[in-house]
């Protein structure tokens, strides 16, 4: 084992211990209170977890894609909302700056994001621009020495606690990406509460009213916001959600195995019943398959393979689908008690659903995967 791999394995072990001690026992409480404690985010920052995917040169931990995926699973298994912070801060925003930022932007933003001095959120979605992300209506005007931003964003994870937003806006012709500091005058946020899931993800609406954005805060080129920055970000986001699906599914399997080993009906533990065994066998097989897809996607991403994005789409589609199936089965194995917050399966069941919607719905993934297959497996 090389020194680098050994160090990174140690980081993953440390993340696992941290998640088991400081996140998982409190996940239900976070869900009920609808917030992540500031102290938790600070503890994660002090461990370097907010810079897990950022190269060491910019103050991060420098995990490669496979390791970052495993890290995402560890955090996601402990608490999906805590994982969602990693998804937006690291996968969506830090990765975009790393890919599209100028050297000056990387040197300015990445160390602050890696240390947790700044938290980031990804402001793409609007009431009328969901799956049709290119249809954003938030607009910008070039005022010579700065841009002026006006508009409204919705369903923005961590918007209520983030310090900087990666915002996508149009001037009527082009969609452009901007790094916008939340402290800028003209920005207001309104928390979105009582959601089915992601309740402690600090989701909020953001309004921008004549917000001045410095010229140097464009990420990528003007007009490159959708084709390049959004696509890069969502590709990383899908990779994160794929592992999030494995995480939730594994959490549900752990819960159903432990329940089935303890619960007695008809005079014996319910794991003796073959129909219960069938559910556990199916869940185990699906999780192993989903994790294998995620690992394959991670290896292809690390190798810069040209089909890495499509493999990631498949991993995201499959892992979110099986997470929904397995959490449904986990509630079934628990019976009536599975409807209560006494066991985690009720929360995992709710959390699984959102994965089939965010970062491109399952139907959008199916469309892209089908297009890929209809070309790749056609014999001329």
């Amino acid at each position: 084992m090389s020194v680098t791999i050994h160090v990174q394995q140690h980081l993953l072990d440390e993340a696992r211990v941290f998640a088991n001690e400081h996140i998982f026992p409190f996940a239900s409480e976070f869900d009920k209170k609808m917030e992540l404690p500031k102290s938790l985010i600070e503890s994660m920052a002090s461990k370097g977890f907010l810079g897990a995917n950022i190269p060491e040169a910019y103050g991060g931990l420098g995990l490669d894609q496979v390791q970052f995926g495993e890290f995402t699973e560890i955090i996601g298994k402990a608490c999906p909302s805590t994982r969602s912070l990693i998804t937006v801060h690291s996968s969506l925003v830090s990765s975009s700056i790393l890919r599209w930022g100028s050297e000056a932007q990387k040197e300015y933003w990445l160390p602050k994001l890696a240390s947790g001095e700044l938290l980031a959120a990804f402001a793409l979605t609007e009431p009328e621009a969901g799956s049709n992300a290119a249809g954003v209506q938030t607009n910008y005007d070039d005022k010579g020495d700065h841009f002026l931003l006006n508009g409204f964003k919705k369903w923005i994870t961590c918007a209520d606690i983030a310090d900087v937003y990666l915002v996508f806006a149009t001037n009527g012709e082009k969609v452009t990406a901007f790094l916008v500091e939340r402290s800028s005058p003209g920005i207001e946020t309104v928390p979105i509460k009582d959601l089915l899931a992601a309740r402690s993800s600090h989701m909020a609406e953001i309004s921008f009213k004549d917000v001045k954005v410095p010229k140097e805060n464009i990420l990528g080129v003007e007009g490159g916001g959708f084709a390049y920055v959004v696509n890069t970000a969502l590709d990383h986001g899908r990779y994160s959600i794929a592992w999030a699906g494995v995480a939730i599914a594994q959490g549900a399997l752990d819960a159903m195995v432990n329940y089935a080993r303890r619960r007695e009906q008809f005079g014996k533990k319910i794991h003796h019943f073959q129909l219960i065994q069938g559910i556990i066998a199916d869940a185990t097989t699906k999780i192993h398959a989903a994790r294998a897809l995620c690992l394959k996607a991670g290896e292809m991403r690390d190798a810069d393979h040209e089909d890495a994005t499509m493999e990631t789409n498949m991993a995201k589609y499959f892992a979110s689908k099986i997470a929904m199936e397995i959490t449904t089965d986990a509630v079934q194995v628990h019976g009536a008690i599975g409807f209560t917050s006494e066991y985690p399966v009720e929360r995992l069941f709710r959390e699984a659903k959102v994965l089939e919607i965010i970062e491109g719905t399952s139907q959008l993934q199916q469309g892209m995967i089908a297009q890929f297959a209809l070309k790749k497996y056609y014999s001329k």
Partner: protein, 81 residues
């Protein structure tokens, strides 16, 4: 293979419509014609950099430089020169 043939061949392999439904000249905008999906922009950029061993700077990464076979040929030739 000629430069434009290599690029055309790669685009044809990544069309979201089938060959018998897609006819385009070297000057046609493949994105506006809906022959490729939005994910293709990144894939095309990676292909051009790897295949022709060039680095496209961030300020050159504008979709209009990749919108047709001719535009991509122009970009690659300008980088080689």
């Amino acid at each position: 293979m000629e430069l434009n043939q290599k690029i055309r061949s790669y685009i044809e392999d990544n069309l979201v419509v089938f060959e018998d439904e897609a006819e385009f000249t070297d000057d046609d905008n493949i994105f506006k014609m809906g022959f490729v999906n939005s994910l293709f922009a990144m894939k095309l950029l990676n292909f051009v950099e790897k295949e022709f061993d060039i680095t496209v700077e961030n300020d050159e990464i504008d979709i209009k430089n990749f919108s047709s076979v001719s535009k991509i040929v122009q970009l690659v030739e300008s980088k080689r020169n």
